[in-house]
C-alpha cells in the first residue's frame, strides 16, 4: 500500500533521512518511534509529499508521490493526515472543517457533505459540537475533529504525526481511542508516536528510527521485549523507565 524506497533527504547540511526503505502493507498499522531528531516526522511528511525528497521515491496505492508528472493533489485525496498541532481552520465550524475538502476537492454536493460531516463528528463523540468553532473546543476535541476531517475524504491511508503530543494528559485517551477504532476497522495507517504502550497495543509493526536511519523494523511484542539493536535497547530502557 505504502512503499518508501531509498529516500534521502537533508535540510542544508543536516541529513534527516538516509536511505530509508520501508513497506506498509494494506490494512496494517505501522508505528514510527525513536528519539527526537531521528527523522520520524520528516519521514511521515515525505509520504504525502508535504516534504520533498532529495532522491528516492514513495509509492502510495501504486502511484508515485514524488514524480513531478503525477498530480500530487490527486494522491493526497487518498491520504489522510493528522497533525500534532491539529491545524483546524479557525474561521470555520467543526462541521465546515470536515466538509470543506469534500465540497471543493471532491465536488461533493454541499448538503450531502455536511450531513456526512455531522455523521463523522457524531462517530467521534462530537455530535453536539458540529457548530462549534475550534477555539471553543478542547485539545482532545479538536484533534478528533481533525481525524474526522481527514476521514471525510475517504482516504485509503491515514498518517498521524504525533497526534497526542500537544494534548493535556487527560485528553490523550480520547484521541487514542479514536485512533484505535480506526486501526481495528482495517485502515492502513502510519503513526509517529511517543505513546509506547499504545504502539505496542495497536501496531502490526514498529519502525525504530535513529540518526536519520531506520534501525529496526519488528512486530511490537518482539521489539519491546527483545530489541535486536543496541540503539533500540538503549532507547527503550530510557523511555520505558520514565513512563
Amino acid at each position: 500500500m505504502i512503499s518508501i524506497e531509498n529516500v534521502h533527504k537533508s535540510f542544508g547540511d543536516l541529513l534527516v533521512l538516509q536511505d530509508v526503505t520501508v513497506k506498509v502493507p494494506k490494512s496494517k498499522v505501522y508505528g514510527i518511534i525513536g528519539p527526537s531528531g531521528a527523522g520520524k516526522s520528516t519521514l511521515i511528511r515525505v509520504i504525502n509529499g508535504l516534504e520533498p525528497v532529495d532522491s528516492g521515491n514513495v509509492w502510495v496505492n501504486g502511484l508515485s508521490v514524488h514524480d513531478p508528472k503525477t498530480d500530487v493533489n490527486k494522491i493526497r485525496q487518498n491520504i489522510g493526515f493528522v497533525f500534532q498541532s491539529f491545524n483546524l481552520y479557525p474561521h470555520l465550524t467543526a462541521e465546515d472543517n470536515v466538509s470543506i475538502a469534500p465540497i471543493h476537492v471532491k465536488k461533493m454536493n454541499k448538503k450531502e457533505a455536511k450531513e456526512k460531516a455531522k455523521g463523522l463528528l457524531a462517530d467521534f463523540g462530537l455530535g453536539d459540537k458540529a457548530q462549534s468553532y475550534p477555539n471553543q473546543l478542547s485539545g482532545g476535541q479538536q484533534q478528533r475533529v481533525a481525524i474526522a476531517r481527514a476521514l471525510a475524504m475517504e482516504p485509503a491511508v491515514m498518517l498521524f504525526d504525533e497526534p497526542t503530543s500537544a494534548l493535556d494528559p487527560e485528553m490523550i485517551q480520547e484521541v487514542l481511542d479514536a485512533i484505535r477504532r480506526l486501526a481495528y476497522s482495517g485502515m492502513t495507517m502510519v503513526i509517529v508516536t511517543h505513546e509506547m504502550g499504545f504502539a505496542r497495543e495497536i501496531c502490526d509493526a514498529v519502525v525504530f528510527m535513529d540518526g536519520a536511519k531506520i534501525v529496526e523494523v519488528a512486530p511490537p511484542e518482539e521489539f519491546f521485549t527483545n530489541p535486536t539493536t543496541a540503539r533500540a535497547k538503549d532507547f527503550l530502557s530510557k523511555v520505558l523507565h520514565t513512563s
Binding site: N87, A101, V105
Partner: protein
C-alpha cells in the same frame, strides 16, 4: 487693531463646503474600493513562487512607494489622462487607488504570512490546490487580520486625497482654496476645514478601534 474674525463666513458657505467634503469622502471611498483588489492581487503576487509574477508585484510596490503621491497624481492627470481622456475626477481616483494599492499589498502580504504554515499544510494535505487553499483557508483568515489596518489605510487615503485639489478636483481642500480666493478669510476657512478633516478622521479612527476589538483574532 487686530484681525477681526468673521465666523459667519462658514455657515454662509456651508453648502459648497459640504459638497467638497462629500467629494473628498466619495473619492477616498472609491479609490479604497478599487485599491483593495489591486492590493490583494499584488500581495498574493509578492509571495508567488513564480519569479516573474513576484518580480512584477515587487516592482509595482517599490515603484509606487518611491514616487511622491503628488507627482503620481499629476503624471496620471497630465500624461495618462490625456491619452485615455480620464478627466480630473477619474485621474484622481485611479492615482489614489494605484498609490494605496501598493500599501495594501504589503498589508495583505504580511497578513497572509502571519497565518501559521500548518494551515496551508492541512489544506494541501486534503488534496486542495495551492489556489484553493489560498482562497478557502488562508485569505479568509488573513483578511480578517488585515481589516483594522485596511480601515487605517482609508484614513490615510482620506487625508492624502487633499492632494487631488492640484488636479482640479473640487474636493474639500479646493473648496477651501476657492473660498479664500474670493473672501480672503483664510483664518476662518482653513481652521474650519482642518477641523472638518479632523472630525471625519477621528470618527473613522474610533471605528477602526471598534473593528480591532471585534476582529481580534482568536487562534
Amino acid at each position: 487693531m487686530g484681525y477681526q474674525p468673521n465666523w459667519a463666513i462658514i455657515p454662509q458657505n456651508m453648502n459648497i463646503i459640504v459638497q467638497g467634503l462629500l467629494i473628498t469622502l466619495q473619492i477616498s471611498a472609491l479609490s479604497l474600493l478599487i485599491s483593495i483588489p489591486i492590493g490583494v492581487l499584488a500581495g498574493l503576487g509578492r509571495i508567488s513562487r513564480n519569479r516573474f509574477i513576484s518580480g512584477l508585484a515587487a516592482l509595482y510596490v517599490e515603484f509606487i512607494r518611491g514616487v511622491p503621491l503628488l507627482v503620481l497624481l499629476i503624471w496620471i492627470f497630465f500624461v495618462m489622462g490625456r491619452f485615455l481622456r480620464l478627466g480630473s475626477y477619474w485621474s484622481a481616483v485611479i492615482g489614489l487607488a494605484v498609490f494605496s494599492g501598493a500599501f495594501i499589498a504589503e498589508v495583505v502580504r504580511a497578513g497572509i504570512q502571519s497565518i501559521p504554515k500548518g494551515q496551508m499544510e492541512a489544506a494541501r494535505s486534503s488534496g486542495m490546490t495551492y489556489n484553493q487553499a489560498m482562497r478557502l483557508v488562508i485569505l479568509p483568515q488573513a483578511m480578517r487580520k488585515v481589516l483594522p489596518p485596511l480601515a487605517s489605510q482609508f484614513i490615510i487615503l482620506l487625508k492624502d486625497s487633499s492632494l487631488v485639489s492640484t488636479v482640479s478636483v473640487v474636493d474639500l481642500t479646493l473648496v477651501g482654496k476657492n473660498l479664500v480666493a474670493t473672501t480672503f478669510r483664510s483664518l476662518e476657512i482653513w481652521t474650519f476645514i482642518a477641523l472638518l478633516y479632523f472630525a471625519v478622521t477621528f470618527i473613522l479612527s474610533q471605528a477602526v478601534r471598534f473593528l480591532e476589538r471585534k476582529y481580534h483574532v482568536v487562534e
